[in-house]
Symmetry: none
Subunit: 284 residues, 2 copies
Amino acid sequence: MAETENSIEIPQDFDSLKATILERKAQLPKRLRQVAAYALDHPDEIAFGTAASIATAADVQPSTLVRFAQHFGFEGFSSLQLIFRARLRERTPGYDERLRALSGNDHSKLESGSIFNGFVAAAHRSLDNIASSVEPEAFERAVNILAGAETIYLVAKRRSYPISGYMAYAFGKLKVRYQMVGTAAGIDDDILVMAGPKDAAFAVSFSPYASESVDQAKLLASRKVPVVSLTDSAFSPLVESSKVWFELVEADHAGFRSLSASMAFAMALTVAVAEKRRRNAPGV
Amino acid sequence: MAETENSIEIPQDFDSLKATILERKAQLPKRLRQVAAYALDHPDEIAFGTAASIATAADVQPSTLVRFAQHFGFEGFSSLQLIFRARLRERTPGYDERLRALSGNDHSKLESGSIFNGFVAAAHRSLDNIASSVEPEAFERAVNILAGAETIYLVAKRRSYPISGYMAYAFGKLKVRYQMVGTAAGIDDDILVMAGPKDAAFAVSFSPYASESVDQAKLLASRKVPVVSLTDSAFSPLVESSKVWFELVEADHAGFRSLSASMAFAMALTVAVAEKRRRNAPGV
DNA sequence: TAGAGAATAGAATATTTATTCCGTTCCGTC
DNA sequence: GACGGAACGGAATAAATATTCTATTCTCTA
């Protein structure tokens, strides 16, 4: 029997597939071993290539790839390929390590525990995401804009409000002048007409974008107030009003998003701005 | 002419493609803009998906994807897809690696960058910390207490305020009755005298503990309102008033703490409570 | 070294997937 | 409000890609 291995379980992720291949490579026939070697040496090619292109590269026939996949219990080459693709999607260093750490704790046993673990994992992912998507140069520009401002206007509504709330708290402690732009539209407009080019604004808004925030950012931009913004898409309506903007997508768990990464970003920005001010005006 | 743009050069890598899309997004027709937004928000899906699956996800026709690709000078969707795949092959460097790659003479850029790095790292540590320190049984008890309450009172001041603010937002969306206990002392007391044993409270306070929060937790406890609390020490004054309490120490960077882990915790608790309610009262 | 079973190559076929085409709708302009 | 051009939706078609099938080769054993 050299066909599907129905007795043994089929690997569901790259790591266990890799282990299985290594374990069995000794008793693999010539061409299948050739495929095994190529697959482990060039996993990206397997992920993106076609059966024909991979076969050429590995110097075998396309049908050999199918037999290889079936030898390890897969239905065909395509289902094997999915494993290699999933690997690229989850490619964050430390990803599976953290996943293992989480599944090791006792939360998984209880009903609410999986929710807890889910949000912790989502927060980790969000943090990995900002770490790779925020450009140091953009961050520096944002810091410079805000550090040079007389007053920093904080624009945020609804879901984003806690972020500006925390920044306000921190700016207060750090003796940085700020002004929150709240909800009451009448008052807000009175506040905003006092803003000018010497000030700056930090706006936060996530989909679905609160129209007040978008309007206020536009108003500020039209008054030549430089706007730095934090949002979740390059197509966010905040972008057009912004001198510098950051795209930050919070990972979700079961459709709900926390603000973990946003909070880390907000705090970093806040402290960096305060630090820059301290340096530029040490005598004050 | 709405076909291939032979006059302008065709983007050869993801960054320039992204730049081109952003540059032209304003004058893109409806469906093409829809595709543009989806593509930049979900680049991985474009890389791995088929024209049909992507079209469904972006809520357009497959032919629209082809037109989109051709609009930007590509021969068809497939050649556009190659750009998205190439992006995944060259692994995205993390923030710290890019920071290190910067020219070493720019001190300020390095400084702001390391602040950013520091807060992201601190957030990761905080998350690891709560994952191991929060007891599943305690979490379950907290969920039960809050899920059984008629009204959930949210007690938090100053630094903790954003946490209860976000929970309030989420409870509102989830149709869970809550009452924030704000700052104005006079009003708060009026609110609190309405609380009784059928309600419950969630209090958050970190060192130095705001005396109002501590007093209000005490008051609630004396009125037989079960209190769940989140704080940063077993010796916190909140502990004596609490039925269930959690110790959560946010890791700090340069003496400043963000709220990343607290946010993840708060969101997990909020969703778990709403989920439990939904199960217990499916008919409502 | 003959024979049996496994493995392989390559072409034939089936399937999936991208692209084209055309009737209809939308939108701006006169 | 009518016209013309651009954009769109959806089905038809073309292209690509994976899988199967069979004749042939290899390899081990008696």
